[in-house]
């Protein structure tokens, strides 16, 4: 396939996944910061919750890499 289209596809895979992750992390981060301010012992749980949406962008990255590198 056209190399340009492949590159656009890879870009979309990373970019759209990043938007999703960003939206989710923004909300979680705001709520988490509030929770940790009141109960500092929740910091572990907070990190976990904050890191959960990151799977999306990482899978997006994996898809992009497969588009670009796997022939």
């Amino acid at each position: 396939m056209d190399a340009g289209l492949l590159a656009i596809g890879a870009g979309l895979a990373v970019g759209l996944a990043a938007i999703g992750t960003g939206l989710a992390q923004g909300k979680i981060g705001a709520a988490g910061a509030g929770a940790v301010a009141e109960k500092p012992e929740l910091v572990g749980t907070m990190i976990v919750l904050l890191a959960i949406p990151e799977t999306m962008i990482i899978l997006g990255f994996a898809v992009a890499a497969i588009i670009l590198f796997v022939k």
């Binding site: 749980t45 976990v48 890191a51 959960i52 899978l59 497969i66």
Partner: protein, 633 residues
């Protein structure tokens, strides 16, 4: 590892209560539980109750006094001093403490108060002095008059119209008995001084108050003194403060030198005695015997038994009580891991303390976490910098959470260096360019291989997690969890089979059996979850697969760090490689190192907390809080 705990019960005759409490306190290995509601409490006699009240008060006063005195490190012979004081009778220590407090309280409070006042003056007086110096040119024109009051005002230039208004209104208010001068003292302030007869004081202040203008207020004792004199007084006082402060501090130091150690020892002894009295509230009693129960590490039972026999004698009986599963759920938790794995306990605690009877993941985390970190960062140069930084900080840090974290980072950096050699990275590709480092596994070029490598870690750790989960569920007789995990493992085996077939590791004929295994697993999971399982079963299987795919982050985050390092070097190259280039490159590398500590730590932690712990971990344990002497060192 979680230490094996056992529930014990101690029964003895009432005449040995004192010795028993002391022995238990010294041993410091038993967490004393509330007595059973069906047993009568062991009441304190009047003397002891009075002593307890007196001690509570004295300890509070003593701590307040210690807070006033400058801090002193505990002397080397603290333990000996403690023993000497602890061997005396409570009454004697109480009396001596009370005497000392009576003698010290007033002078120490006095000194501290005067010190605080002087320090406050040191901050506020210069502010007065500045303002007064500004007003000086105005004040010089005014004769100090008796029966007259002087008010100084500072007005922002843009509000200067107010002053005109004053000039118009003052004659009416004061019957023309006033003097009003104003002058611009700097580019945005105008100063004014009003002198007026005391009988109109209220009216003038009313006027000033109405316009809410900031009046220059002097310390009370200076309000009725002429300006020049007041300024002079302030200046002399300011000059004398450092010397006075030094003198006060010397006196406080002298007090601390003489008393701090003694007071701390008394405080420790009294707090311990107080604990010994208060713990009796948890003892049960009959007419002639007492009974107390608690949790302790099973291993230390013989030791405690021997201690009780030696210090109390044979009028006491220590026995292990059979426990129900319900009891065990509430057993206190002590984590005990070999030295190198110990710092990782802090990370497990950050999630939650494991419940008693479940698996403590600390040792496994100690193995995997540094490897994951190393795999992500994977750079000899970064690794060495992180290693040195962590070493330096860990040597300075006090024992505690932060230090544990530094030691964890230390292990992580060693793996980073190891992976750095494997990837052939030294500040990115700089090593290859500068000293022809040979990459055994260039991760920038073999992305797919790196992905498979990461997924392999996922398969290993998730399988391990399931194995632990199944073992734990079987041990704790959790039928539901057991079935759930077995079902997921079966489905996973099927998926692995399919992957192996599609990668030509297994013959094509195994496709159908693999699909069959996936279906068996899924159906079993649906059955375990009940009706909702028809919907949730397949989703849960997909989530489990997602958990394995999540390990792709080991590759992905690592690659982003490679590219950042590449950018740093390229940018330095583009800028000509001169001094500017090196500085810019170094800045980028510094940023990459900062990210390179933070994000691999969080990502590896997350892989443990979410993906790995999710398969078996049960938090909600309570910390073991033994009845023991205060650590005074």
């Amino acid at each position: 590892m979680l230490v094996k705990m056992t529930k014990i019960q101690i029964i003895g005759t009432r005449d040995v209560v004192d010795q028993t409490v002391k022995a238990l306190h010294r041993a410091g290995v038993v967490q004393i539980e509330e007595k059973l509601p069906s047993v009568d409490p062991l009441a304190l006699d009047d003397v002891a109750a009075r002593q307890r009240d007196e001690m509570t008060l004295l300890v509070a006063r003593l701590e307040a006094l210690l807070a006033l005195l400058p801090k002193r490190p505990p002397p080397g012979d603290m333990a000996a001093r403690y023993d000497a004081e602890a061997s005396r009778s409570t009454g004697d220590v109480l009396a001596e403490t009370k005497n000392a407090l009576a003698q010290l309280d007033a002078p120490a409070q006095n000194l501290a108060r005067r010190r605080d006042e002087l320090q406050a003056d040191q901050v506020t007086l210069p502010r007065y002095a500045t303002t007064m110096r500004q007003l000086m040119p105005l004040a010089a024109d005014l004769e100090p008059l008796q029966h007259y009051e002087t008010v100084a005002l500072l007005v922002e230039r843009k509000f200067a119209a107010v002053l005109e208004m004053f000039r118009e209104e003052l004659p009416g208010i004061t019957n023309n008995q006033f003097e009003f001068v104003s002058r611009d003292i700097d580019k945005d302030t105008t100063a004014a001084i009003i002198v007026f007869s005391r009988e109109h004081s209220a009216a003038v202040h009313n006027l000033i108050g109405r316009e809410s203008i900031s009046q220059v207020r002097l310390p009370e004792e200076l309000t009725n003194v002429p300006f020049q004199e007041a300024l002079k007084t302030i200046e002399t006082r300011l000059a004398s403060i450092p010397k006075e402060l030094e003198k006060l501090n010397r006196e406080l130091d002298a007090l601390a030198n003489e008393w701090h150690a003694r007071l701390s020892v008394w405080g420790a002894v009294l707090r311990d005695r107080l604990q010994e009295l208060e713990v009796r509230g948890r003892f049960g009693a009959t007419a002639y015997t007492f009974v107390v129960g608690g949790w302790m590490p099973r291993q230390r039972v013989p030791e405690l038994r021997a201690l009780l026999a030696r210090e109390v004698g044979d009028q006491i009986l220590l026995e292990e009580v059979p426990v129900t599963e319900h009891d065990l759920e509430h057993a206190p938790v002590v984590m005990s891991n070999p030295g190198p794995a110990k710092p990782f306990e802090y990370l497990v605690r950050m999630m939650a303390l494991p419940r008693y009877g479940t698996i403590d993941p600390t040792p496994i985390m100690a193995i995997f976490l540094p490897i994951f970190f190393g795999m992500i960062l994977g750079d000899v140069g970064y690794g060495v910098i992180v290693l040195l930084g962590a070493l330096y900080l860990a040597r300075k840090a006090k024992p505690g959470g932060f230090r544990s974290l530094l030691i964890v980072i230390l292990y992580c950096s060693i793996w980073s260096i190891a992976f750095g050699f494997l990837y052939g990275e030294f500040f990115g590709e700089l090593g290859e360019k500068l000293f022809h480092m040979h990459p055994y596994f260039p991760r920038g070029q073999s992305v797919v291989a790196l992905f498979i490598f990461s997924l392999a870690f996922g398969v290993v750790q998730i399988s391990l997690g399931f194995a632990l989960g199944i073992y734990q569920a079987a041990k704790l007789h959790q039928r539901h969890e057991l079935l759930d995990r077995v079902a997921k493992v079966i489905a996973l085996i099927g998926v692995f089979g399919l992957v192996a077939v599609s990668a030509n590791y297994l013959p094509k004929e195994l496709t159908t059996p693999s699909i069959g295994i996936v279906i068996v697993g899924t159906v079993l999971l649906m059955y375990t979850l009940g009706w909702i399982g028809i919907l949730l079963g397949p989703i849960e299987i997909l989530t489990t697969l997602g958990n394995i795919l999540s390990y792709l982050r080991l590759a992905a985050i690592g690659l982003s760090s490679v590219y950042l390092a590449l950018v740093a070097n390229e940018l330095a190259g583009v800028l000509g490689g001169g001094i500017v280039g090196i500085i810019v490159g170094a800045l980028f590398h510094a940023l990459n190192i900062a990210l390179g500590i933070l994000s691999p730590t969080i990502q590896s932690l997350r892989l443990h907390y979410v993906e790995f712990f999710g398969k078996f971990y049960e938090g909600g344990g309570t910390d073991f809080a033994p009845f023991k002497r205060e650590n005074i060192m």
